[in-house]
């Protein structure tokens, strides 16, 4: 009825709009279905609620808890705790750590659960979104601490 009085240009505009809405709808459904599966790693509280199978390869991500990092007598094995503020997972790793791996920074560990300890094969450092020159670090340390507390 209305199509008859619409100019062809407007018909095409309506068609493109309908196609776009359908496309966005389909994409949102796909993204919704991918939730939790397209994540690169699990955070400790997810590991606590849905523990992965023993020995199955998973990735664990979170913050290295301050004061938890210990080097074993052999000099290459380290123990630390990964936390997201709600839950924590103890981690063991043997090897060379990336430069950005320090206490209080983000880490993604590739490995598996053995008992209650997560044994990591590789460690990746996760950088946060802040870029601050070295000299100004102290000025903003309180701000960054708040941000760390907020980061899961």
């Amino acid at each position: 009825m209305t199509a008859a009085i619409l100019k062809p240009k407007h018909q095409r505009l309506v068609l493109v709009c309908v196609a776009l809405v359908a496309l966005i709808g389909a994409a949102l459904l796909a993204v919704y279905a991918l939730r939790g599966q397209a994540s690169y790693f699990y955070i400790p509280s997810e590991m606590a609620t849905r523990p992965p199978e023993q020995g199955k390869g998973v990735r664990l991500g979170g913050m290295v808890e301050k004061g938890s990092l210990k080097t074993m007598p052999d000099g290459v094995t380290i123990h630390f705790t990964v936390t997201d503020g709600k839950a924590e997972v103890p981690v063991r790793f043997t090897g060379i750590t990336p430069d950005l791996f320090v206490e209080g920074s983000g880490v993604v560990a590739d490995g598996r659960m053995e008992g209650t300890t997560f044994v990591a094969d590789t460690l990746l450092a996760k950088h946060d979104e802040k870029y601050v020159p070295r000299e100004m670090k102290d000025m903003v340390s309180t701000r960054s601490r708040q941000a760390v507390a907020k980061t899961r």
Binding site: L20, Y40, E129
Partner: protein, 241 residues
């Protein structure tokens, strides 16, 4: 807007616009990158590695802006049948793909010292790699449609592809928010920046400069594509006449 549908008129404007975009673009990008390399202070965690920011960030922005240009031109092509829209989309595809590839390469070089890995299959990196493949597909498709001399509808096939492919742009943008990823969340959001002013201003100048260069390349390529079409039409007339 249909005033520029006349190619002769567009070409007159383009001839004048090209140096106006290119010269300040080159000055701003080279200036900002040189400042970044020579004077940007080391980051409190990453050290001097932070300097790659001035190339990586403008490149990935333009990789996404390139596809946005294709998508908008595709809508104009499909709805208004503007004669220059398909040419603008084709012209934006190649520089868009180049900037996307540069973004992936610089990101990889940055990832090795910072994260400890050249490449990981997280949401951001994977969706950005898909963008590069979409560009390859678009370039091949637009090229094939151009060769199809049967006229009319063939030109609209790449436009549909350009529009469908645009769905990847919001996915790239939101990937670090929706899914846990190794790539950090966005530093610059609506009116706020987690990048210190020392780094931010040169970055914005570099991004503007790169964008002007991008605009100049698109206009130069549009002139080239129009010249191609003219030559072909002339050859065809000669062959027939």
């Amino acid at each position: 807007m249909h005033a520029f549908a006349n190619p002769a008129r567009f070409l007159r404007l383009a001839r004048w616009l090209l140096p106006v975009l290119l010269v300040p673009g080159l000055v701003m990008s080279l200036g900002a990158v040189a400042w970044g390399v020579a004077y940007a202070p080391p980051d409190h965690l990453m050290g001097v590695t932070v300097k790659i920011l001035y190339i990586h960030v403008p490149c990935v922005w333009l990789g996404m802006a390139g596809w946005s240009t294709i998508a908008i031109s595709s809508i104009v092509e499909l709805v208004w049948r503007h004669p220059l829209a398909a040419i603008a989309a084709r012209a934006a595809a190649v520089p868009g793909a180049v900037f996307t590839a540069l973004g992936l390469i610089t990101g990889s070089i940055w990832g090795r010292p910072t994260w400890g890995a050249w490449w990981v299959w997280d949401g951001r990196l994977t969706s950005f790699l898909i963008l590069l493949f979409l560009y390859f597909g678009y370039i091949a498709l637009a090229d094939a449609a151009q060769r199809d001399a049967s006229g009319g509808n063939a030109a609209r096939i790449p436009a549909i592809f350009g529009l469908v492919g645009a769905i990847n742009i919001p996915i790239i943008n939101r990937s670090v928010v929706w899914w846990n990823s190794l790539h950090q969340p966005p530093s610059i959001t609506m009116g706020k920046s987690a990048i210190d002013g020392t780094y931010l201003w040169p970055l914005l100048i570099a991004a503007l400069g790169f964008s002007l260069i991008f605009g100049a390349v698109v206009i130069a390529r549009m002139r080239m594509l129009l010249a191609d079409i003219q030559t072909e039409a002339r050859l065809r007339r000669k062959a027939l006449g």
